[in-house]
């Protein structure tokens, strides 16, 4: 039902790939960290054809694999694709070569954060941060608090206001957060070990 995935569209493909910028170890690192054997990929593009979110991606999933194979580290870590991916595993189930593409995406997200790469989808990252903040505070995710702080962060108070109000009217978002009693056990998880 999807529109066909766009052909592998390497951003700036018109400019030649600079060999000196290639990271020869990238593919090996990603394979080890994600436990997915990406050298098996023969670019059949099944993964992209089934991906529900291909519309919002700059590279199709196999395009990301290509970038990794070419050692184009910056392009892979700064792609929109790795943040748009929700980890639904549709691709991993469909891949004829049994490659867990979702695990590759998760590994790249983690590397991007660890290396301080430029994050292409800051709103998505902000949303994740607000969820984690809520968990730190209450031990549970408090939807209303998350949405309010997220809206403040991205400064889009009026986007989606109708949906938010309908959810409030149906009491889908509680004013008061439900919280864990032994909250100390949770907050301790967030203190860096060298501070404890």
């Amino acid at each position: 039902m999807n529109p066909p995935a766009p052909a592998l569209n390497l951003r700036g493909a018109a400019s030649p790939i600079v060999l000196a910028e290639q990271d020869r170890y990238l593919a090996r690192d990603i394979e080890r960290l994600s436990r997915a054997n990406l050298s098996r990929c023969f670019h059949c593009r099944s993964c992209g054809n089934g991906c529900p979110f291909i519309r919002g991606m700059d590279y199709p999933p196999n395009g990301i694999i290509r970038l990794v194979q070419y050692g184009l580290r910056r392009q892979a870590l700064e792609s929109h694709t790795i943040w748009i991916c929700v980890g639904c595993h549709t691709c991993s189930v469909q891949c004829p070569m049994g490659i867990d593409i979702a695990a590759i995406m998760a590994t790249l997200r983690r590397l991007a954060l660890a290396e301080g790469a430029m994050i292409a989808e800051t709103n998505i990252l902000d949303f994740h941060r607000e969820v984690l903040q809520s968990i730190k505070q209450y031990g549970r995710a408090h939807k209303l608090g998350i949405m309010l702080r997220y809206k403040a962060r991205v400064r889009q108070w009026f986007a989606d206001l109708d949906v938010g109000l309908r959810m409030l009217a149906k009491r889908k978002m509680d004013l008061k957060a439900s919280r864990v009693k032994a909250i100390g056990e949770i907050t301790r998880l967030f203190i860096p070990h060298w501070k404890r």
């Binding site: 639904c88 549709t90 983690r110 949303f127 939807k143 949906v163 889908k172 864990v180 949770i186 967030f190």
Partner: protein, 287 residues
Amino acid sequence: MPGRGLNLTDLSYFPGCSLESSARESNISMMEAAEILGLNLIELEDWNCCGSSSANILDKEIAFSLAVRNLSLAPPDRPLMAMCPRCLYHLREAHQRLKEEPETLRAQERRWGRPISLGLSIIHFLEVLVRLGPARLQQGLVRNLNGLKFVPYYGCTLFRPPSLRQGSYYQGEMGNVLTMLGGVPLDKALTQRCCGSFLSAARADVVTPLVNEILASAVAAGAECLVTSCAMCQLNLEIRCTWEPRLPIFHFSEILALALGAQDYEGWFTRHLVDPRPLLQARELIP
């Protein structure tokens, strides 16, 4: 299958953040259905978030510890049951890792000061129903679903993630259970397409066409409603659909409890953004 032959009367129950708040109607109806079926659900004392997608993306170790704390709270002598597919996935994934890494297990036991059972069986509500067997369900049947045509919408997680393959498959089970109760499942729709997950909050523009596509496929199959066991799917399908006419989206437990004769459904259905009552009245399931 893990834990076969377990005593299914007493179960620890992990609600999770959605069922505790935005999808309370799912929680209440499931409790009710469970009671009618003679199950004793005991809420996991002082449970916390299962780890969630967001925590897993930002900090895998914190997410792992969050899941493990729940495991450390679970009494070893009864199964731990979850309704949310994503919670089930995170709890099982953490449990799996503890089985593979003895030193991590010991560190986590010391962290929480509680033993963690590696033999704990972690199951989904559907699995409980399947193991109870058709006879128990049919005994409890009070309101026959009268041929209600529904799409059993499983979403992406319930049986999919590769690291869960050691677990059971739930494919088809939601349809099977509701067929026993008189419903008519229609499978020729996008029953496992992802609902949009957290992108619904941050990138609604990507999610709306997807949700519309799922609903269009249900309408094309001739469905009157969708039934899902995931609270996030239920919410995303309701709030992100711009397609008219809108189909009601039920929590699986609501339809189950309704068929088993629960009476206080009014409070569940008024919490829906797409009012399902006209459909149920037309089917003579509620007055």
